[in-house]
Amino acid sequence: MVSAVFHSPLEASQDAAAARASNPPAAPVARPAPVPKAPRQPFDWRSLWLAVLPPVIGLALLVGIWGILTQNSTTFPTPKVTFEAAVKLFADPFYSNGPNDQGIGWNILFSLQRVAVGFGLAAAVGIPMGFMIGRFSFLNRMLNPLISLLRPVSPLAWLPIGLLVFKSANPAAIWTIFICSIWPMIINTAVGVQRVPEDYLNVARVLNLSEWKVITKILFPAVLPYMLTGVRLSVGTAWLVIVAAEMLTGGVGIGFWVWDEWNNLNVKHIIIAIFVIGIVGLLLEQLLVGIAKRFSYDD
């Protein structure tokens, strides 16, 4: 990551510094008026070129192959037709004609809301649990077999249990996300706690720090990078699971939307949905990578 040598310790990366500059009231430290910057260097076109060109070529290749393969197809839409459909679809993403006919924007938002609730609950339970498992080897030995047993279970196997207990589709979908996204957070947090360097704990022992100080000044910062990796994996899983869960539960959501369009034999929309799901997943991932960068430290 970008070294923070030229910044105050709070500014772990230039991204953070840039974000702060654009939003001064949120800055936690009072900073003097911006110092005039050194004369701007000529813009580095070459590196921009190298950063942009390969992904564009990759995308063009995908669309190209897709176009060639569907040239004479009657059932599978061509890229052009799909693009036109997408333009029409995104022209009005937030219309609402009753519960079974809503804009794609609503569908995405409903799915994201379920993910947020399920994932939030999983974090609230999983992270403290990971801390406990990492800290107490008895708990570790007690719960490890259970975790190993339950973790590989397919998300959809949990759905009937949710339907049975909650007797309603929406809580069942949230339950499925909860149970599938909790494992990476538990495991990563526990591993992080177990891997806190012995030296840091020895420092705590020599200083005779209170348990609260040990947690806030040593354990939590040391575990944070591991924890954020767990959170990232969890959000990825949650987003994978929601599409599948919604296909079965129905209601408003991107997964249900895909299934609905399949029933309408509207393949264009299914392809659009695949792209949309991919892009939203990518954005979620990037968001969390950004957060993780912000809190990582160099040893």
Partner: protein, 269 residues
Amino acid sequence: MTTDQQYIKVENAEMVFETKKGRFHALREIDLSVAQGEFVTLIGHSGCGKSTLLNLIAGLLKATSGVLLCDKREIAAPGPERAVVFQNHSLLPWLSCAENVHLAVERVFGANESKAQLKARTQAALELVGMGHAVNKRPHEVSGGMKQRVGIARALAMEPKVLLMDEPFGALDALTRAHLQDELLKIVARTKSTVVMVTHDVDEAVLLSDRIVMMTNGPAATIGEILRVDLARPRNRVELAEDRNYVHCRKAVLDFLYTRQGHVEKAAA
């Protein structure tokens, strides 16, 4: 006030580790007294348990049998009155140099002193080791020697009864090491600290110590010999290089390490 000749007292200490491969007898029959204000180094080949002995005095390890006393109280657990300078500095990478020191200062003096006083102590400790300019830097932004200085500042800031140092300069280059040794001599002369230091460097041991504790090879290592270094302080490394007494002490340590205790290493190699 007379100085306590048995400020740290180790009586017949044994250390046995229970490892997966079975019992490992690390130390046997350790008897050692350190006077108040004395500078003692522990020297020996690697694996001879000198760090183990230091950790026993620190309280980080518990002796299998035997008695360890510091200021007439049993050493049962680690505590800030026996500050440790770790070999790899062990600064918390997410805290600035000042925050690292402040953590220790706050723990020891936080109950009785104001925030401003605590801050002044932190600053004073960092200035004592010549790090007053880097208070807001994080450990990864300063050099290895500077990190070790901050580690020493953290230990000194607690005003410990005893300063325990585990090869504090082991990871540093020769020039930085010499510089920090000189600094340490000055600081100890000023603070009159009782110091127990582990080292594998013969020159370092002779230059710094009042007494050198030479340990036999492990397993079941013990104290082989204790050498008193009768050199006037303040000591100057350049002048000492030709001092007869210094050369004699150096020869005695080398003789112990390589003539009398060298054979195990040869056999192992």
